[in-house]
Symmetry: C2
Subunit: 323 residues, 2 copies
DNA sequence: CTGTTAGCGCATTCAC
DNA sequence: GTGAATGCGCTAACAG
């Protein structure tokens, strides 16, 4: 591997001069700088980031801690974060916190031991990551007091709830996957608020909740709003087994706008979050923190967007031809 | 941050002794070693990996290059790789090659510039990553001459093809997403081999291919085998629009066994690859390469597993009640 | 404009 | 057993 020393020796100047020339410090004559650059080019010189990191005390690497890398949203988050970090010459080191809070702390410590300049953390459901020795940006939900930036999950719930209310539904089931998740609680809360006074609402959770759906639909529920697209697919399957169809017998919605939402039949109405923007802000704030600016006083909230497709239709009071 | 120097000063010994004590070199007296360790503990001493990396010339970081972080398989690969790497005290730096071969080369270079000890690459469809300055492990498909370790995609195709043939299907459509993908070509090839002489086979690709399916089914095709679960979901949707149902009118299979396969109705028959094992081998081979062992002469192939669920049934010749 | 010196934190000689 | 010296590659302060 070529080094500054190498180039310096080749040209017959000091290492410092080469360093200055290559980093454009301006203290070097045009001609010399040109010669140095030419030689560096020939040698395919690449600065050694490790040495630079040691000198600067910064590695240029950010740690990303996710509760479960298997999370269907992880790919998008990872990609957006990776892109945003890239634009600022930062790298992203991943760590999995394997579905439990203790492991989450371990993962954070391991990353810090590796010398990351900051931590991006999507917290474990219902856990509170300890404040760390390095700048930390939490991506969760606005109702989390430690949240730094996130989608407006309550607002998203509201959007989809209003969509359903506007379509005339008056008997609605809200289905969450796991009641311990702040994100899901907020989505449900938003839905409730939109339906408040406009529809009868029933909230249920998890597999037990799904099992009750066919009966609830038979008893008059005309819409099921879920907190995730995958959950919606499960619901559709369960309903289909019971001979109920979407949106004929019941309207159905998801959350997150995963690729599968578009592949479903009918295409699933859902709520999209602007992952790119969240990632962009997360990285921007992180850079500020690293640069020594104080942490923002309150978290940032990024709007969500309603994606109305064909799994939701206007409520048809007379849509019961089987009598 | 505490350092060796700090501990040395506190106790009144030299840095070298502290280093020796902490890394268990055995050249230090029991008592001294104990005192040093105690003080290190108190101070919460963590070795500075950057300095160590500079000294050793190794960072303990592996670069992971994926063609598209949004790939539905990425979460599982990332998690398995991350776990396997973790077990050997290695970190994983991710990079996205953004769907084009040039970007893939850039991503690799960026990672190398960051000083990674090796590169794990899942190549861009139809692209050949240049040999690199660091050990490189390619995860693709056995038919790729550069492949280091991968699932047996041909074998997987064979398994699902035989499953279908055994169920009596004699008129089968094979659907791939993108003909340029070696992986998908191999899956299709495996299916063909299994159906060879047992069924009439038609191969088609992409959205255009999907569009032809309803007609093909109406004309007698009784099974559609796809190269991915998401593709299968799309197929099911298209068939449903045409009034065709799975598995009543036609059997359907996916590939990869994503979470959505189980959420579908009916649950999707598919092929699972042992991602954990692939990742484990990839990391193991990487470590060997880093340790200076020669590259294995040929790639390793990890068996796949048939996951038969309810989207496939025996062919019912008389299953056409609409006449 | 350019060179010298020093040091980031650690591990590895080689003396003592 | 322990310490002093050296250098990994780079940058920054200070000289000249």
């Amino acid at each position: 591997m070529s080094s500054l020393k190498q180039i310096a020796a080749d040209i017959g100047v000091s290492v410092a001069t080469v360093s200055n020339a290559l980093t454009d410090k301006g203290r070097v004559s045009k001609e010399m700088a040109a010669r140095i650059r030419a030689r560096a080019e020939e040698l395919g010189y690449r600065p050694n980031v490790t040495a630079r990191a040691l000198k600067r005390g910064q590695t240029g690497i950010l740690g990303l801690v996710m509760p479960d890398l298997t999370n269907p949203l992880f790919p998008r988050i990872a990609q957006s974060l990776s892109d945003a970090a890239d634009a600022r010459q930062l790298g992203i080191l991943i760590a999995d916190s394997r579905r439990n809070a203790g492991e989450q702390e371990n993962a954070m410590r391991r990353l810090i031991d590796r010398g990351v300049d900051g931590l991006l953390v999507v917290p474990q459901k219902g856990s509170a990551p300890e404040p760390q020795a390095v700048p930390t940006v939490v991506i969760n939900t606005p109702s989390d007091p430690r949240n730094t930036v996130s989608a407006d999950h309550v607002g998203g719930g509201y959007l989809i709830g209003r969509h359903i209310a506007d379509m005339g539904h008056r008997n609605v089931v809200l289905l969450g996957g796991d009641a311990v998740s702040d994100v899901q609680q907020d989505r449900i809360a938003g839905m409730r608020r939109a339906l408040q006074g406009r529809a009868r609402v029933c909230v249920c959770w998890g597999a037990d909740g799904i099992a009750t759906l066919p009966l609830q639909v038979t008893n008059g529920a005309s819409a099921v709003l879920t907190t995730s697209d995958l959950l919606a697919l499960r619901v559709q399957s369960t309903l289909a087994s019971a001979g109920l169809s979407v949106p004929g017998d019941v309207s159905l919605t998801g959350f997150d706008d995963l690729p599968l939402a578009l592949a479903m039949h009918p295409p699933l109405s859902t709520v999209a979050q602007d992952v790119d923007r969240i990632a962009g802000r997360a990285i921007a704030i992180m850079c500020d923190l690293i640069a020594g600016q104080p942490a923002p006083v309150s978290g940032e909230t990024i709007p969500t967007r309603l994606v109305a497709r064909q799994s939701t239709t206007s409520f048809q009071p007379a849509a019961n031809p089987e009598t």
